[in-house]
Symmetry: C2
């Protein structure tokens, strides 16, 4: 049984002690991703040295797992022969991933050291639109012919398996590369040697088009529990596959984008550290500007109540509390609705069902918050003759504003979706402004009546 | 090639026309998950009728894909014999999932119709702590012995494959069920028939313990690109496996929890609609209360500047804009830091690196927002003699407060992590309060100086 942590520590000791033979033996037994992680902690000048200790295949696997900076360092350090060897071991989708991240001079070096057929494949994948299934697929699948026997199929698998990304789903094509069906390795293993592929293949194939967004392939893999999905062009010709591990990457990336959008940040392809300061500024400043300028409306609202404020300045003290509470109430509802829609649980036709639920939740929360607030105001202002008026104005505002905030939290994202806009981007900044305005309007309406201003 | 949408529409027509023979043929060719989805749109009383048309194996697969309400309806409608047949087809982890969601009387009916060995297995899995790998694993794996030849292994696989969840990773155990190694179906297919399993197995096994959190298994599956991970007990005995499709479910669930926490909602196991109103209230009211009460501090702050407000009430009009803008600035930073830490990109030792980056981003954003704000204030208040003072006070506040907000957006989550608290839960509500306080303090400090109050 493995203990990765202990192995890593041992490897670091061996590097310091320059015991390279033992280090090589140790590394040969470690998973590629752990070696890559270990190398991330080494000083830059030792990395090529350690890398060259790895057996060829493991070296390529480790290379794929490294972060872009380390890959660049290594490619710069490689001789042409070394680079050629690594490239030969890589799967097409990994090579394309690397190329997309590298500066022009490194890309040139990579392409120079690829053989012509590899260069053609790379260019083909690079040619698909960004974020399409075509751009993340690989062409290292095993294809079979309908007329083959199971025995023939096994022979073919054994011959080509070594450099294919998966051999557990096999694709049956005709002379024109048209996809006729799929057969799993399990079906093959359970079939008789003389059975024909055409007899045992599944013809009801789940697939994605090269031009579909990559999320489509990932969703289908998840929904149907697949290990890989075939990617076909508009003429139903098989051009590649996307495997389940790539689907997981797509899911994670999509999630990161959703998180970014929820925080009013434009999603970025790069990781936090690799995004430059100007890029970070660009990703964030737009929504802040929108929010800031929409604050003009709220400000105008408040200026409208200038006389009331001048007469009872203590009212202002309640504004942040009221704004934060209703803003957060609305945000809770909108997040749940946005996620529910993204997950497919909440559909547009559920509008009234959702709204009815939220309004009941809001009423309960509003009453609870109102009571707690009432008590704390009465205690905190117990020497103020107006304390009851403060308590009533704020508690009533909480109840009403929370109900409105939760309602807008349902309405805005669903309206955005209905208008085919991105709910996460459109709904959040608008919600803040709408909630602020409602809160102030309600609060000062109550206050002016109660204080007879 | 399949067109699921068209198939579904056709099926609905056949149901209305009561053409059950054609419907059966159509359904037999459809993926289970699509049948389950289709049935979700049918009136409740037709569901059992349509379900009974399905071939046995497909029926069980479809059953697993249904939502809990529909499963309950069906179990209630099943005869004992029908239920027994479905249960026999289910994998252990799916059965356990269903049992965990059902009310007591349905669980009783399920257990009554399970055979004794199944009941024992169910109880064993139910016995593991909630959210541990043990609670999501299945025991339907294929185990091999080290002394078997490749040929023997294939024979064993062919014999048991039908009711195993995966046959692509095979587990080598000794007489005491101790896990000795794993071997993939690919390795088996590429090996010679007479090779011994002990010669070709991988002994450096990645595994999880039954008591590890289920995220541990999911992370390892993702990190190492596995199709399944073995789960062992404290004595290194193999007790089950978790497959990649379950790992994807865990990843999605974890993400939903993170989203909920970001919106100040306690994560819920149930879906939106299945969560009752009181449960929704409970999940949301706690953080709203915390936020509301922390608003007391901000309020006290403002009351402190009561005289200034009474003298220049127009100052109040800027408060919402300033609070929203800095709050959002801080939120952007904290979200990126929290996600970066969750993804493993940002580590505690990176504190200064992150902070330095954020402070530069904040300075740029602060200057940009300051300039835009200055222009709009000068235009909007162009008849006001104090317009320059307003512009300077607000723009300087923006610059300073954004820098502080972004700094707190780094400090609070990383401090939470350092204290082994959940950054997403602790950092967000605190950040709002801290940003509000800073903003008000800075704004009124500038204002009182400029207006000589």
């Amino acid at each position: 049984m493995t203990d990765i942590k202990r192995q890593t520590e041992k490897a670091l000791v061996l590097i310091v002690e320059r015991k390279y033979k033992e280090l090589r033996d140790l590394l040969s037994d470690m998973p590629a991703v752990d070696i890559a992680q270990l190398m991330g902690d080494l000083p830059k000048d030792i990395i090529p040295l350690v890398y060259r200790l790895l057996p060829k295949e493991l070296a390529a696997e480790t290379f794929v797992e490294m972060d872009t900076d380390m890959q660049e360092t290594l490619i710069q350090a490689f001789s042409d022969l070394e680079l050629k060897e690594v490239l030969q071991q890589l799967f097409l989708d990994d090579t394309v991933d690397i190329i997309e991240e590298m500066p022009a001079n490194v890309v040139k070096k990579i392409l120079k050291n690829s053989d012509p057929s590899m260069r053609r494949d790379i260019n083909e994948v690079l040619h698909y639109p960004k974020d399409s299934t075509g751009s993340v697929m690989t062409n290292e699948y095993v294809d079979l012919r309908a007329g083959m026997s199971v025995q023939d199929a096994f022979k073919r698998i054994r011959r080509v398996a070594v450099d294919r990304e998966t051999i557990y789903t096999l694709y049956v094509t005709d002379d024109d590369r048209k996809l006729l069906g799929v057969v799993t390795a399990k079906t093959l293993m359970l079939a008789e040697p003389d059975d024909l592929i055409s007899e045992i293949m599944e013809t009801n194939v789940i697939y994605s088009l090269t031009t579909d967004p990559k999320e489509d392939a990932a969703e289908k893999i998840t929904k149907y529990g697949l290990l890989a999905i075939p990617i076909v062009d508009t003429e139903e010709r098989l051009v590649g596959i996307v495997t389940v591990d790539d689907a997981i990457d797509v899911i994670k990336e999509t999630n990161e984008d959703e998180f970014a959008k929820m925080a009013a940040v434009s999603p970025s392809d790069d990781s936090y550290f690799r995004t430059s300061v100007p890029k970070h500024v660009k990703n964030r400043v737009v929504w802040l500007l929108v929010l800031m300028l929409s604050g003009i409306i709220t400000g105008a609202m408040l200026n409208h109540f200038e006389e009331a404020i001048a007469a009872v300045p203590a009212l202002v003290g309640f504004i942040p509390m009221l704004m934060d509470t209703t803003g957060n109430s609305g945000n809770q509802a909108s997040t749940l609705v946005i996620r529910g829609m993204a997950m497919g649980e909440i559909k547009l036709k559920d509008f009234f069902k959702v709204w009815f639920k939220e309004i009941r939740v809001a009423a309960c929360i509003g009453v609870l918050l109102g009571i707690v607030n009432c008590v704390r105001v009465l205690i905190q202002y117990n020497s103020d003759p107006d304390r009851l008026k403060f308590a009533i104005a704020t508690s009533c505002t909480l109840l009403l504003a929370v109900c409105l905030a939760k309602s807008f939290g349902v309405i805005l994202p669903m309206l955005a979706k209905k208008l085919k806009l991105d709910p996460a981007i459109v709904a959040s900044p608008m919600l803040t402004t709408v909630c602020d305005i409602c809160t102030i309007l309600i609060f000062f309406t109550f206050a002016t009546r109660l204080f007879k201003l």
